[in-house]
Subunit: 68 residues, 2 copies
């Protein structure tokens, strides 16, 4: 099991959290997504190491930005 | 046709706008709902005069507050 934390910019409410969670959950191998709205920290637990570009694509698809 | 403008507190993003719009549109007689996210102003066009309590209930149902 692998775990990594990313920072997402632009989330302002619970709907934003849901959108990001839903998109990131769709990445193959992802088992859990935990979002802290106040800090923008998104912790992803997965059964393989994720490529940051996969996470970035999911976050972009949700309408937000991964902090560089 | 009747038109009135209300101020809604707590909307922070387009999802919030959608939530409020959807709930207010469900009030009987409502024909159009226009939300300005920056100001929180919600303009409602309806084919009858609305009771402010109906609007307040819809906004609350969406998870936001009507400014008093």
């Amino acid at each position: 099991m692998s775990q990594a934390t990313y920072t997402v910019q632009g989330m302002t409410c619970g709907h934003c959290v849901s959108s990001v969670t839903e998109e990131v959950e769709q990445i193959e191998g992802v088992r859990a997504v935990d979002v802290d709205l106040a800090t923008g920290k998104v912790t992803v637990t997965s059964d393989r190491d994720l490529d940051v570009d996969e996470v970035r694509a999911a976050v972009t698809e949700a309408g937000y930005q991964l902090a560089s």
